[in-house]
């Protein structure tokens, strides 16, 4: 039997807000230096930082930025695939695709929940997304032009995402790491379904095969860009790695992804659109051609094929939903008032205090 386990305390989000901010005021005091030392020691010892622990303000800000961008990517990422739900060519594929797009909404929710433990509310983050002050992964600014794009997204885009995300399951921030464990577990079906979809096309008719090759041609390079700029141009990387928010560099992960994909493409019977792709015996890795970083920066700046479309659909869904969210909140307030009015004065409000049926089961 293991003698002592620390009980995991449920985060009390409201109380978390601003703890780091207070500490960041003024010159570092002796107490703060001690806190910083304790934080550094915890990170160095591979312990998890939990919501109510003291943390440097820059660590908090960096996490909020990364988790928010990740959450935004999940929900914007629903769009290119949802584009094919109504046209999926078999009922089996339709069910798979609906379940996958649903998972992405779920992953967005897990991640917004993780950001919330840092005091960043979902409304605030959505507002930043809608007004362009926070980004989402640029890959979703590319269009899904054929059914094969659904497969290419699963295989390449989700594959790149998984390569990025598996190390995040060991991220130093507890709630983010836990969300990632859940996400990675669910994500594994996403990549497989994409690969299987492409395999069916590749083994199908001439037209289906061409569709699959065309999709891989269009998605390969943007997928490599998903790992971010090269290490020597990545502004946040070094610090994130020191904090163990990030565990591997962009280039390291990109190389890992290429090495994984080459044999998979071969098994698919499809070609990766890179004439410079060749095995380097010395390095023990696949060499690959130069990435068009100008395209990456252009898409990032908003000039991708779908930037405007994706953001405006997101804004529209949010705006069109406002009356629904208001109605539910209004009903809850009315119900609370009705309960209070029905309650004899001086009595505690019974509803909350009484365990619900579910709580007793």
């Amino acid at each position: 039997m293991t003698p002592v386990t620390t009980p995991s305390t449920p985060p009390h989000q409201q109380a978390e807000r601003g703890m780091g901010a207070d500490a960041a005021e003024g010159p570092p005091s002796g107490a703060e230096q001690a806190l910083q030392a304790a934080f550094d020691a915890a990170v160095a010892a591979d312990e998890r930082i939990e919501p109510r622990d003291w943390m440097p303000e820059a660590y908090r800000a960096s996490l909020v930025r990364q988790i928010a961008q990740h959450a935004h990517s999940e929900i914007i990422g629903m769009q290119p695939e949802a584009n094919w739900i109504t046209r999926a060519p078999s009922l089996r594929r339709k069910a798979i695709l609906m379940a996958k797009v649903q998972d992405e909404a779920g992953h967005g929710l897990y991640l917004y929940g993780a950001a919330e433990t840092l005091g960043a509310g979902r409304d605030e983050l959505l507002d930043k997304l809608h007004t362009g002050r926070q980004k989402y992964s640029s890959i979703f600014n590319y269009p899904t032009l054929t059914w094969a794009d659904v497969g290419a997204i699963g295989w390449l885009v989700d594959g790149a995402a998984i390569t990025n995300q598996v190390p995040l399951c060991r991220c130093s921030y507890g709630p983010y790491a836990r969300a990632m464990v859940r996400i990675c577990k669910e994500e594994s079906f996403h990549q497989r379904q994409g690969y299987e979809l492409l395999l069916a096309l590749s083994r199908g008719t001439e037209a289906q095969r061409a569709m699959a090759q065309d999709a891989v041609n269009r998605w390969w390079w943007p997928s490599l860009m998903m790992f971010g700029p090269p290490d020597d141009e990545s502004p946040h990387s070094a610090r994130s790695m020191a904090w163990k928010i990030k565990r591997h560099s962009n280039d390291e992960l990109r190389q890992r992804f290429v090495d994984i994909c080459v044999p998979q493409a071969e098994a698919l019977g499809l070609t990766l659109p890179d004439p410079d792709l060749r095995w380097n015996e010395e390095r023990g890795h696949w060499d690959f051609g130069a990435i068009d970083w100008q395209e990456f920066r252009d898409v990032l700046k908003g000039n991708g094929p779908c930037n405007e479309q994706r953001l405006s659909q997101r804004r529209r869904a949010h705006e069109n939903g406002a009356w629904v969210r208001e109605a539910a909140a209004a009903h809850a307030a009315k119900q609370a008032a009705r309960r209070a009015a029905a309650q004899p004065p001086g009595q505690p409000s019974g509803q909350a205090a009484r365990p619900t049926e579910t709580a007793r089961s």
Binding site: M1, P11, D123, R325, S361
Partner: protein, 94 residues
């Protein structure tokens, strides 16, 4: 806006015989909807047989600043743990 939808903490009992474990959080306008949203979000792959939802604002948590006074005293009482005691070789079922 969902700003008016409070945050709920969700606890899932993954199967009978186990206790409810914190799974994450979500927004909902009221407890009934929180339960339903939790069912949809946290048990889509049959991860649970029972759910609790608790308004996040209702949770009182120990402060990390109090970590030492709260939890340190427990650390010096090894006699609370069975491994503290020596058992002669060959004695079973103890």
């Amino acid at each position: 806006m969902s700003a008016d939808w409070p945050l709920w903490e969700v606890f899932v009992r993954s199967r009978r015989g186990l206790s409810h474990t914190h799974a994450g959080s979500l927004h909902a306008p009221d407890a009934q909807m929180a339960l339903r949203n939790a069912r949809d979000l946290f048990t889509r792959r049959s991860e649970g047989v029972s759910l609790w939802v608790v308004p996040a604002a209702e949770i009182t948590a120990s402060s990390p600043d109090e970590k030492d006074p709260f939890f340190a005293p427990a650390a010096d009482k090894p006699y609370r743990h069975p491994t503290f005691y020596e058992v002669p070789e060959g004695v079973r079922n103890l």
